[in-house]
Amino acid sequence: MTTHSPHPAHAVEPASAEELALMSDEEAMILGAEADGVHIVHRRDRFPIRGTRAEKRAERTIALIFLIGFLAAVGFIVVFCGALPFEWHLPGQGSQDFRYFTPALGFLLGLSLACVGVGIVLWAKWLLPEEEAVQDRHDEPESEAEVLMTAASLVTGFNDMGVARRSMLKSTVGLAVGALAALPLVALVGAMIKKPNKGQGQSLFHTLWTAGTPVVYSDGRRVSTDDLLPGGIETVFPGVPGGIKAGDSPTLLIRLRPGQVVKARKGQDTYQWGDYIAFSKICTHAGCPASLYEQQTGRLLCPCHQSQFDVLLDAKPIFGPATRSLPKLPLGVEVQDGKQYFVAKGDFPEAIGPAFWERP
């Protein structure tokens, strides 16, 4: 095997098998490296005299590190197999020692791995010979003849197939393969695709609230008109099957403080019931529940991107990235057993939650 070398001074004659057979391993290795374009320019044993105290000391140190790694691994197994409990208990209702289980495992595993890693690196740094090797990059452009022959092979193949002449074949095979290539995508997308807003409960413009839907708590109790105190809020849901789990129905019922007046949007003056007002809890920006309510200032903050809405301005966004007011739920009451309970007078007048293309 011959190599092109930019360092003729280093060029080494390739050796025959007979010559190699008589060489030392190291000499044969150096010749092999030369054959690969790797010139070992410096190679020096760190302990040229075998068995010195320094060498033994280095070896012992590394062995000790490996030994610690072994002990830590054994410790890991012991802890893992039950030396420490891992069952969780409430405070005051059982041992809290579970809190040492995972840290102990992490410490022992980390120690064991670190010892193995550091030991191996030290082996390389302390005991392996110092060596500096230089390798040719062989980054010269390929010879022109090489490139020309390859290009000719490609062109001849095309000519053999008659790509230039047989335009009918070319276009039809293109069609067939192109259509086939689109198949996986079509299959996947076609199988997964869902027409937006189609089907029961799938419309982005409507929620489960309808005229007469009872307003309920998360545990299903109905909300009555004397439940909240001024300055109170509650997350309420449509009292229909699936209403508490639906992603679009959480609604924030707010009882205003005395003196707080909401400037209603056009056509929504009747949505409020007394000092109760209800907005969609889903932020119009990115859909988080906007529910950090400041009862004195009437501000509603979304914890995800810090949009701020002013309930007294009918939940208009006053700071942050949200652009649309929170949709307002028309509130009404019905009397049952002499008590007034909230119902919705209809759905939100607009789509709730984050905006989308089809939304006016």
Partner: protein
């Protein structure tokens, strides 16, 4: 060149066809069937340059391996289903709560599978490390110009790895279906919806209907354990294959050239160091996984569309998008009964621009500098002030976005108004990057100037001399030959210049071993060592004479 064992210990002729040792027999067995000897030796002898900054990519590679190992463990216990169950495991504060099977099985892993929690935590820490290591590796490649021809393709592959890493990470931390990640999924759905024209179609396709649906966790699961890891593995393979084909870059210096690469051979030295380093990376992940709690989903609770927690943040690698979303003004476009939501710009357009710019950078730089040559020698950041400035600008922009992603926590911790934090982020996003450019640029020029100064005048020795005329001067140690005026003749070559006397180096460092006190060898060994050193010094001297 010196060889170690002057007298070869030839016990007899080595012969391939009659091996005597077990290794030899095994070698013969495989060689006769595979015929790999030549190719294998080429790889064993491959030379890798030795510089600390070249090991950052290795951290990412090793984290990926750790992720696969720990992730495989987790798949044995995780149930990617959104079906509702009532929790009855060990964690009392959630007993009886309705939750998805995904969340319940993650609780199961954390509290009822022996060692499940630490594996989960190692997996999550390794994921963070994977992303962080890729990021600093990218910085290293950028600031040293390692992306230049012929390595532009590998730069693009690397960028693809980071992008897929983001997707993989997001899909991964969404799987437990806890309150925090569910909030993230809700935002992801809003981002999909915000795409003009096809947004709602994309969201309905991904979620199988209106949010939250019953599909998304199962789909993210297969994306997370098969699809993206498969592509990642393939791209990592291509990344490494290109590295091997093109060989590693190295810093310029004495004896370095564009045509060679110098360092240690792959076998055994480099392999030992790299292999040892794998264990060290794993050790860090394991220690973090045991000692520092991560993603405590039991504190977050199961996802519920009506609930949210203050201080909801994504993992750090998504943080810059959270920040951009917080900072972007409420600019929504409404035209002819259609809407382009404000969310679209900071979450889809902005990362699109950022990643396109990053991908195009090698080609843009080549075009603008008209540099079409191949480069295997790196540049020091100070020698390319414009690029360094641009990099500093990009990092600062990213940093402002990342900080803004946690601006509520900063506001709380330092008692600053949230609104003020938002405005600080908005202004900082525009002003800080150009400022960073100017500072980095000036710093580069200053560092270069200092290097040139030392090359010309020598190192400040700290020795003050008084001239006969009363003038005080400091004596400078020239680094090489000087001209008639005492000015150094060394050219500026973009290599480190020693700035202190004790950095000048001593060709023969003292052989002192031992930690507390030097190791004393026996007298005869000391004498032998001294003789060896003497011989070596003489050989070096004669070689210098030859070359001079």
């Amino acid at each position: 060149m010196t060889t170690l064992n002057e007298a070869p210990t030839v016990k007899g002729a080595r012969r391939f066809d009659k091996p005597r040792t077990p290794q030899g027999k095994a070698g013969k067995f495989f060689e006769e069937r595979l015929g790999l000897a030549g190719g294998l030796r080429k790889q064993l002898n491959k030379v890798f340059p030795d510089h600390w900054s070249f090991m950052m990519g290795e951290i990412a590679l090793y984290s990926f391996i750790i992720l696969i190992l720990t992730g495989t463990f987790l798949t044995f216990f995780f149930d990617a289903s959104m079906a509702e169950v009532r929790y009855d495991g060990s964690y009392v504060p959630l007993q009886g709560v309705e939750m998805s099977r995904a969340y319940a099985s993650t609780l199961h892993i954390s509290f009822d599978v022996r060692g499940g929690l630490i594996l989960r935590q190692i997996h999550h820490w390794a994921a963070l490390l994977f992303m962080a290591a890729m990021t600093i590796h990218m910085f290293r490649v950028f600031f040293t110009g390692a992306f230049r021809k012929p390595r532009e393709l590998n730069w693009l592959i690397g960028l693809g790895l980071i992008t897929l890493g983001l997707v993989e990470g997001f899909a991964g931390y969404s799987l437990p279906d806890d309150l925090l990640s569910g909030t993230g999924l809700r935002i992801a759905e809003a981002i999909m919806q915000s795409i003009p024209v096809i947004g709602t179609w994309v969201a309905f396709l991904a979620f199988g209907g209106k949010f939250p649906g019953t599909e998304i966790i199962g789909r993210l699961y297969i994306v997370h354990v098969l699809l993206v890891p498969g592509i990642l593995a393939g791209l990592i393979g291509a990344h490494m294959a290109l590295l091997i084909k093109q060989k590693h870059t190295e810093f310029p210096g004495p004896g370095k050239s564009e045509h060679t690469v110098s360092g240690e051979r792959m076998y055994p030295t480099y392999a030992a160091k790299a292999g040892g380093f794998f264990f060290i990376v794993f050790a860090v992940c394991a220690a973090l996984g045991g000692l520092a709690q991560i993603n405590p989903i039991w504190l977050y609770g199961p996802y519920n569309t009506a609930q949210v927690s203050a201080g909801s943040q994504p993992d750090f690698y998504i943080g810059f998008l959270d920040g951009s979303t917080r900072l972007f003004p409420s600019w929504e476009i409404r035209l002819w009964h259609h809407t382009i939501p404000a969310l679209f710009w900071p979450t889809i357009v902005l990362p699109g621009i950022l990643f396109t710019l990053a991908g195009a950078y090698p080609f843009l730089e080549a075009k603008l500098t008209k540099d079409r040559a191949k480069h295997h020698l790196l540049q020091r950041p100070r020698d390319v002030p414009v690029r360094t400035g641009l990099g500093a600008m990009a990092i600062t922009f990213y940093g402002v976005l990342l900080l803004s992603g946690g601006n509520d926590l900063i506001a709380k911790a330092f008692d600053i108004s949230l609104n003020a934090m938002t405005w600080a982020g908005r202004i900082g996003m525009l002003l800080a990057p150009p400022l960073a450019y100017v500072i980095a640029y000036k710093a580069c020029i200053g560092l270069q100037r200092h290097d040139r100064e030392v090359l010309e005048h020598g190192i400040e020795t700290g020795i003050i001399k008084r001239l006969p005329n009363g003038e005080f001067i400091e004596i400078h140690q020239p680094l090489g030959a000087v001209d008639d005026h005492g000015h150094g003749l060394l050219e500026y070559a973009g290599t480190p210049v020693p700035k202190k006397m004790n950095k000048l180096g001593n060709p023969q460092t003292a052989r002192v071993k031992g930690f507390f006190r030097p190791v004393r060898e026996k007298a005869e060994i000391e004498a032998e060592l001294a003789a060896l050193e003497q011989a070596e010094a003489e050989r070096a001297a004669s070689q210098r004479e030859l070359t001079d």
